[in-house]
């Protein structure tokens, strides 16, 4: 006898145990407690992709929701701190900028700082925009500390994320989920059985003959989308006309001298390379377009651009940028790569898992599976994907590079209208609006616009209420404070040593 609602979901099966699977398991176990049985099936034989080692600050919310101690989580996952992403060679070869996890300057009279900066910049008397981001300054100096709650200090006004070993993270969450009642089953899925009358998934048949039935199925089986696609034939939106990269080669290497508190994305002739420093190694990978570059060449470029000795064989991945037409179909929700794929240029993979989980929890169904809620879920998911997509496209589109056919293609390609509007708005007025729940806000767009050569021609009219000299003085003051703050931060490596060194 239960005291709950009669049609409550009583059993969930999660198919697949990578980052997505275990994040979902942990979060649902935490959210649902004992009201619901959660089973996860994974096979030790199937490797996980294990990209997405770099995260964005929202992951802190996820940890917080789970009640995970941050230092402990970091120790267990060989994690390092991350203040932003260092984009090298994107605007042009030899150019560099950082997309920071923290705003530039401070608003003056309710007008965003960057308008004041734009005025000075348009007059040719502005210091570099990066001078106004403590995150960037700390990143360049390889310094880190968690924000300190000093009123009005830049030290209290930035954000950070982590770079960690996704495999260790999955293991960490597996322990967490296990302690909270999630049962793990070993086995490969042989068949997805659908209910005849409504096409809902009834059960998963494993190769060992076991049958796993549930009210709700979560598809975390990766690109393949074993449930959502192979069984439910949902369909996929292909975005490769805007995001032409379709392959990646990943390889870890030994640590460099300096432990950088940021991820680096270095553009090459037909794609880009990630560099993610962990405590015990550096994760590297080359994302490229097979139309413009051979696998061998891509691999050679990657191996040539490592900071230390390679620690494993390079591993190749193939993908197609895009998104599942629907992420929730009937009683199946696809989370992680099963729901779509976008290259990790802005470290969004884990974030998309996290928001999918959050959305699922907030729209958690009953066995009635009301279609309105499912539609709502899918609309939001699609919007989120598309806005991130547009932001990624900006990186390729806004370039002055003309040194390869790949970049020529990108520079000249058609882009989605939403992105075009955003660019036009900025160029014409210096304004950046964050629409609805889109992930990337003013700071991010500003960083990439300015970092990749898109200039505003105007600024907010209220800026002129302050005399230029006054603006210069305030700006100089802020710069001074920011320098002082940066000088007081400890080295990233020392901070880790003190708080969360892995053993």
């Amino acid at each position: 006898m239960t005291f709950g609602q009669a049609d409550a979901i009583q059993k969930i099966v999660i198919a697949g145990g990578g980052t997505a699977g275990w994040m979902t398991a942990a979060a649902l176990a935490n959210a649902l407690g004992k009201t619901c049985e959660i089973h996860l099936v994974e096979s030790a034989e199937i490797g996980t992709v294990g990209v997405g080692e770099a995260t964005i600050p929202h992951i802190q919310l996820f940890n917080e929701m789970l009640g995970v101690d941050e230092d402990e989580f970091m120790r267990k996952t060989q994690a390092t701190f991350k203040l932003g992403i260092d984009f090298v060679n994107w605007k042009q070869k030899g150019h560099r900028y950082v997309h920071p996890f923290g705003s530039y300057g401070e608003d003056i009279a309710a007008v965003p700082f960057h308008h004041y900066w734009l005025k000075l910049s348009q007059a040719g008397i502005a210091p570099a925009l990066e001078e106004f981001s403590i995150t960037i300054q700390a990143a360049y100096a390889n310094k880190f500390m968690r924000p300190v709650d000093i009123p009005d200090s830049p030290l209290s006004a930035f954000n950070y994320a982590f770079q960690f070993d996704a495999g260790l993270y999955a293991a960490f969450l597996r322990d967490y989920a296990g302690q909270r009642g999630v049962q793990r089953f070993e086995g490969k899925i042989a068949q997805v059985k659908l209910r005849a009358h409504d096409g809902f998934i009834e059960s998963l048949a494993l190769e060992n003959g076991q049958l796993m039935s549930a009210d709700l199925f979560i598809d975390c089986t990766g690109f393949r989308g074993l449930l959502i696609e192979q069984a439910l034939n949902t369909g996929y939106d292909d975005w490769s006309q805007w995001l032409p990269c379709d392959r990646a080669i990943a390889v870890p290497c030994a640590n460099a001298d300096v432990l950088t508190p940021y991820t680096r994305a270095t553009a090459h002739t037909a794609g880009w390379q990630w560099r993610i420093p962990l405590q015990h190694r550096i994760g590297n990978g080359h994302v490229y377009s097979s139309r413009f570059m051979s696998d061998d060449e891509a691999c050679a470029i990657l191996m040539k651009n490592l900071d230390g000795e390679a620690m494993a064989e390079p591993k190749q991945l193939r993908f197609k940028a895009g998104k599942r037409k629907k992420m929730w179909v009937k009683n199946c929700v696809a989370i992680g790569l099963a729901s779509g794929f976008m290259e990790p240029l802005e470290s969004t993979s884990i974030h998309l898992i996290q928001t999918a989980i959050a959305r699922l929890i907030s729209l958690f169904p009953s066995r009635a599976f009301h279609q309105r809620e499912i539609d709502f879920y899918n609309q939001h998911g699609a919007y989120e994907y598309e806005r991130i997509r547009d932001f990624l496209i900006l990186h390729y589109k806004a370039t002055e590079r003309n040194d390869s056919p790949f970049w020529d293609h990108c520079r000249n390609m058609e882009i989605p209208q939403y992105l075009q509007d955003k660019i036009d708005l900025y160029q014409n007025s210096g304004r950046i609006y964050r629409e609805n729940d889109e992930l990337f806000g003013v700071t991010s767009w500003l960083a990439v616009f300015e970092g990749q050569g898109i200039k505003a021609r105007a600024y907010h009219p209220m800026v002129d209420k302050l005399a230029t000299g006054e603006i210069q003085a305030r700006v100089a003051d802020y710069q001074k404070v920011l320098r002082k703050c940066t000088s007081l931060m400890p080295a990233h490596i020392d901070y880790i040593q003190q708080h969360c060194r892995s053993f």
């Binding site: 560099r96 570099a128 990066e130 300054q137 320098r483 940066t486 000088s487």
Partner: protein, 522 residues
């Protein structure tokens, strides 16, 4: 990429000279600034001897050691140290006289008025015991006794402090280990040239081995010569020999003697004075004299004639000019120790003056912009320290009734600084000691020397009369008894020392130090 060139922090610092001052400075910087990223290098040459005076110290050294986390027992063992309660001055006021300048008070204040006024009243009526008998450290010292003071203000045992006699060479070695273990680098070599920037700051020093060492800041601990502060920066020297005429010294160690007093001796001679500093393993001796009144041979002769044990080394002659560098801190160079000034060790002030310069250096530690105001304040405060110690030393020479030598006739009749004359006048008139907050020697010390050398007031503080004769006599008798009993109960210095060198570290309970010459009650 943006560079943070704006950060003006001192990144490197060179200490030139590795004597007591060099290694004390190095140790303090190792404690305070090496952990903050300042690279400290000490340059010294084994070919240059150190002066190694200042074997007698003041209680402030305990504060220095405690600040640096130095264990007293370990320090005592490493430096052959003994405990010290004061200094005995013989033959200063007149031949045959002796008094002890104690690290502690006489009696205690009664109704806010210093004890010596009550004593004076009775003394002027011919009723008091000698004032020494109201001082616990003096009575203990006279009986060769020692005990750690108490921090309980109610106890008579809280009325004194203590210092050490140490082997300065061993102390420097000890601090060298301390400093090197904490990241101070040592460079062997003699300076052959110094290069300066256009603005006159010191840029680098070049050593005889060809190495050129650059730094943001330099500490000159090169002794009298002042290789950086004077030879390079031409800072200038204020000569005080018209007030403190002694300009030579000859030192010689002797074997450990049977007499093991917990105090330094300063015995006035015909043209100067002789020190005696008892250590665990030997006794330090020397004569400070004025070459105008005494030849080197005469001085050596007087020294050798007045030793109580066989010598263990050849005598070592030193020359000096009493005075002070016009600015201890000039440009990016600070002179510490003898490079900053020289005052004869009559009141064991050498190490104290090093220590105070180091503490001010820590307090006013600059950055590469070397702002003017902190430097001016540093110099102003050090000048005050020097001036006040100077006046106190002059008092010893001037307040004498000796007429038995040309030297003493000179001292007795010489013109003294106006401030000192004013101070003496106030004491003569009614036992008033001029008060100041910044300075080493405070009321009890001035009282000790005034009274010890025959400067007897005509009157005393009028407020004394508000206490009835009977109460006054009773209070004084009580103090007298307490001092006699407490000093009688103390162990012999030698026994105490032996015991404490051997007890397990946990049982070695030395009290917390303060930046004061006296007990906690003062």
């Amino acid at each position: 990429m943006l560079q943070h060139n704006a950060d003006p922090t001192i990144r490197s610092l060179i200490i030139l000279g590795g004597g007591t001052s060099g290694w004390m400075t190095a140790a303090a910087l190792a404690h305070f600034f090496v952990p903050r990223g300042v690279q400290v290098t000490l340059v010294e040459s084994e070919a240059i001897g150190t002066v190694g005076v200042g074997e007698a110290t003041l209680p402030h050294l305990r504060f220095f050691n405690q600040t640096l986390g130095i264990d007293e027992q370990e320090f005592m063992r490493a430096t052959g140290a003994t405990y010290k309660l004061g200094i005995e001055f013989s033959n200063w006021g007149k031949q045959g006289d002796a008094y002890i300048h104690p690290f502690g008070d006489y009696g205690q204040d009664i109704r806010g008025v210093a004890f010596h006024h009550y004593w004076l009243k009775q003394y002027l009526q011919g009723k008091a015991y000698p004032i020494d008998e109201y001082s616990l450290p003096i009575m203990a010292a006279q009986q060769n006794k020692f005990l750690f003071p108490s921090s309980d203000e109610r106890s008579i045992l809280s009325t004194f402090s203590y210092a050490y006699h140490i082997d300065a060479g061993l102390y420097a070695r000890y601090l060298r280990n301390y400093s090197e273990a904490r990241g101070v680098a040592r460079q062997e070599g003699k300076v052959v040239s110094v290069s300066q920037t256009d603005s006159g700051d010191i840029k680098s020093i070049t050593l005889d081995n060809g190495k050129e060492l650059a730094a943001d800041m330099f500490i000159d601990c090169s002794g009298f010569r002042g290789v950086l502060i004077e030879q390079t920066l031409k800072t200038g020297y204020e000569d005080w020999s018209h007030w403190l005429p002694c300009n030579r010294a000859v030192a010689v160690p002797t074997e450990r003697s049977a007499s093991f007093p917990p105090y330094t001796k300063a015995i006035a001679r015909d043209a100067g004075w002789q020190w005696r500093i008892p250590l665990q393993h030997r006794t330090g001796n020397g004569v400070v004299y004025c070459s105008d009144f005494c030849s080197d041979e005469q001085a050596l002769d007087a020294l050798l004639k007045n030793l109580d044990a066989p010598t263990t080394a050849d005598p070592n002659f030193l020359r000096f000019v009493t005075g002070k560098r016009k600015q201890a801190w000039n440009k990016n160079c600070i002179a510490i120790g003898l490079a900053g000034g020289f005052l004869e060790p009559l009141e064991s002030t050498s190490i104290y003056l090093i220590q105070i310069a180091i503490m001010k250096l820590v307090e006013f530690f600059p950055d590469r912009e070397f702002d003017a105001a902190p430097r001016a304040e540093f110099n102003r405060q050090l000048d005050l320290e020097y001036d006040r110690v100077r006046d106190f030393l002059i008092l010893h020479y001037h307040a004498t009734q000796r007429t038995d030598s040309a030297f003493w006739n000179h001292c007795r009749t010489m013109k003294i600084p106006d401030e000192l004359a004013h101070k003496m006048e106030l004491f003569r008139a009614r036992g008033h000691v001029v008060q100041y907050k910044q300075g080493l020697f405070l009321e009890p010390s001035w009282v000790a020397v005034y009274l010890g050398q025959g400067v007897i007031p005509q009157a005393f503080d009028s407020r004394v009369n508000a206490v009835s004769e009977r109460d006054c006599t009773a209070l004084m008798a009580e103090t007298h008894n307490l001092v006699a009993r407490a000093s009688g109960d103390m162990p012999l210095h030698e026994k105490f020392l032996q015991h404490h060198l051997q007890v397990p570290a946990a049982q070695y309970a030395s009290p917390k130090a303060r930046m004061s010459l006296y007990g906690v009650r003062t």
